[in-house]
């Protein structure tokens, strides 16, 4: 997280630290699911995905319940039973992060408390969270000033209207065939140095739903061009609610 602050304990109790192919983030859903980005499990350009999901589940580490990486490691990881990658995610298509969403099912439900609590999913009908300027918070253990953070940081970012994202992207991308799909949104600033960065992928972009008084995950840190050099791009959770609920519900 660039330009952010250190999170206090209990600020983002849903935050998960994942280490699958390096560091990533995630968010607790319910008491046994981690919502994260597909590309932290199967990175782009990894070539033929010779390792099966079962093996990845076997190797994955998920930590919950603290803001310090060191403490998290001391507390021990939560083993993963199964991994669900969204079928639209295509690791071969390097510049297309469509469908960049995944679910990790923990082997054992976690016991909730002040430092471990799940994030809500947005209400299907509520699209105000994606309107231009709607403030959200993103937390993560990702890179800050070229170093992986040892502590959980967070930053407050506004969602940006699609056309702004699109025109900015058109000006930046040159001949990179990066895809900005309907299932994404962008947030952040053009000039202010506040953004998410590598290592934050999989963490969720949350907003406070003032109606319900609950924090909901509207996005998942997905990709960007550099860090704090413009907008960041997030998976639009609203478009994947059926997929998520289909998996999480089926398992209850």
């Amino acid at each position: 997280i660039l330009g952010g602050k250190s999170a206090g304990r209990g600020n983002f109790p849903w935050q998960a630290l994942t280490t699958i192919h390096g560091r990533g983030g995630g968010a607790l859903l319910g008491d046994r699911w981690i919502l994260t980005a597909a590309h932290i499990i199967i990175p782009k350009g990894q070539g033929e995905n010779e390792v099966g999901l079962d093996q990845l589940a076997e190797d994955a580490n998920v930590f919950l319940g603290h803001t310090s990486v060191e403490e998290l490691h001391k507390m021990g990881n939560h083993p993963v039973r199964r991994i669900f990658i969204h079928p639209d995610y295509n690791p071969e298509d390097e510049y297309n992060f469509n469908g960049d969403i995944a679910l990790l099912e923990l082997k054992y439900p976690v016991t909730l408390g002040p430092t471990v609590l799940p994030i809500c999913l947005p209400d299907t009908s509520n699209t105000t969270f994606y309107e231009d300027g709607h403030i959200g918070y993103v937390s993560g253990f990702g890179v800050e000033k070229n170093f992986l953070s040892n502590d959980l940081k967070y930053v407050s970012l506004p969602a940006v209207a699609r056309e702004k994202c699109q025109s900015w992207l058109d000006s930046k991308r040159g001949d990179i065939p990066i895809v900005f799909s309907e299932n994404m949104f962008c947030a952040g600033f053009l000039t202010v140095k506040q953004d998410t960065c590598q290592g934050d992928s999989g963490s969720v972009f949350t907003v406070l739903d003032t109606q319900s008084g609950r924090w909901v995950a509207t996005g998942i840190v997905s990709w960007g061009i550099g860090c704090a050099e413009g907008y960041g791009f997030y998976t639009k959770v609203l478009n994947y609610l059926d997929w998520i609920k289909g998996i999480v519900r089926e398992d209850r």
């Binding site: 609590l117 319900s212 924090w215």
Partner: protein, 440 residues
């Protein structure tokens, strides 16, 4: 003389019947029927020359060494002695007929063709028991007690307490093994109410099916030799049940009714060589053995349809008030029935009722329960409330809510009778320490 074969019936005809009989003829017949029968003879047809006192032609009948008559003549004739439809019955099992015709049958020079007679006889059972039938020479003595006639014979029997002797007629006191198996009956000293014989060793056994209790009632007169000072030194009436002596009686005061509580009773009557007491008579009846009134062991036990009296083969069902269960020792019973046994005891002892214990309520993951009632225990009607570890979890209950009661069935049930406990579902999006930026 032609002996008639010993049959049960037959015909006897005059010589040449139905043609006129010959002159100068003497024919005799000996009729014999089996022992136990007598002969009964009648004339179907009778037509002999009539004469004063049947001097010329006649039939003579004899039985039991007696003359039964001399007959001749024609139906309606003024002279002679026509037998008509008369029945001739012997006392013994034999009868003798003799026919006699003289040298002629003419009347003033006219020969009359008298045709003689046709007689029919049959064996008729002799009722040896009818005193009027006792044939003098009958060598057989009369039955001493009871006579039982049957066709062709008779037999004797004796009063209870007596045994028919080898002569098949006389009865001697034999009461050493009298057996009574009817549900009720009478027994008495031999000759009652006449004085009982001496030197008796009578044993009357009453044997009824298990489960019946014999009750003895003494009838009047009750009279057994006794002594002023010494208790029953001469004659004794002993009553035993299952080998246990219930009482020994004598004297003139009949004992009260005795409920033996046993289906087997022996009555011994021992007499010495003298005495003129009239003896005793007992009317025994039987009733089902009674069992003690069932008494609950605690205030939670219910005896269904409690009866005032319980007898053999009766039963009672015990159950518990709602919320209590039947226990036999440490064993839980699904039901309890006790049957009154033949020995007047219940086939199993009364159970007790223990309050239903639902056991520890199911733990609620990420929650807990608390007892609403005091003392906090898991017995019937205890109430607990489930709570989740708020604010991290919120409770999801069935329609029956979060209060569970220990039910009579021994399970914790919610307000709708459901046993499924609530669930604690994660509360999402509610950090207890949300990030709040104060500075603006």
């Amino acid at each position: 003389s032609s002996p008639v074969p010993s049959r049960l019936f037959g015909e006897i005809r005059s010589p040449g019947y139905p043609k006129p009989y010959p002159n100068n003829n003497i024919s005799t017949w000996d009729i014999r029927v089996p022992k136990g029968y007598v002969v009964k003879l009648t004339f179907r047809y009778f037509d002999l020359e009539p004469s004063e006192s049947c001097f010329y032609d006649y039939v003579k009948i004899k039985a039991d060494k007696k003359n039964l008559g001399r007959y001749c003549g024609q139906l309606g004739s003024t002279t002679g002695n026509h037998p008509g439809r008369k029945e001739f019955v012997s006392k013994g099992n034999r009868m003798h007929l003799a026919f006699h015709s003289d040298f002629s049958n003419d009347d003033n020079g006219t020969v009359i063709p008298y045709r003689g007679f046709l007689a029919y006889y049959q064996a008729v059972d002799l009722d040896e028991c009818d005193p009027n039938n006792a044939a003098e020479e009958d060598e057989r003595p009369q039955c001493q007690h009871f006579c039982h006639n049957y066709v062709g014979g008779y037999f004797c029997s004796c009063r209870t307490g007596y045994q028919l002797q080898s002569d098949h007629h006389s009865c001697k006191v034999e009461c050493s093994s009298e057996l009574y198996t009817e549900a009720s009956g009478y027994l008495s000293s031999p000759e009652y109410p006449q004085p009982y014989p001496e030197d008796l060793q009578c044993n009357y056994s009453i044997r009824l099916p298990k489960g019946l209790s014999i009750v003895l009632s003494f009838l009047e007169p009750f009279e057994i030799d006794d002594h002023q000072q010494v208790y029953c030194p001469y004659d004794q009436l002993k009553i035993q049940a299952r080998g246990r002596t219930i009482g020994e009686f004598c004297g003139k005061k009949s004992p009260d009714s005795i409920e033996t509580n046993s289906n087997e009773v022996d009555i011994l009557f021992l007499t010495d060589e003298s005495g003129f007491s009239r003896g005793w008579k007992i009317h025994y009846t039987s009733e089902k053995i009674k069992c003690p009134q069932p008494v609950p062991r605690d205030q939670f036990t219910i005896i269904r349809d409690l009866q005032p009296v319980y007898e053999f083969q009766d039963y009672f069902i015990a159950s518990c008030k709602t919320g209590y269960k039947l226990m036999e020792g440490n064993q839980t019973l699904l039901s309890f029935t006790a049957v009154c046994q033949a020995d007047g005891t219940w086939h199993q002892s009364m159970p007790h009722c223990e309050i239903v214990n639902c056991g520890n309520p199911a733990d609620l993951t990420n929650g807990a329960f608390s007892y609403t009632n005091k003392p906090a225990d898991n017995t019937y009607q205890s109430v607990i409330t489930y709570r989740c570890n708020e604010p991290y979890y919120h409770i999801v209950t069935g329609a029956g809510g979060d209060r569970f009661t220990c039910s009579p069935e021994g399970t914790w049930m919610d307000g709708n009778g459901q046993v499924k406990i609530p669930a604690c579902l994660p509360v999402c999006g509610k950090p207890v320490n949300p990030v709040i930026s104060v500075q603006r």
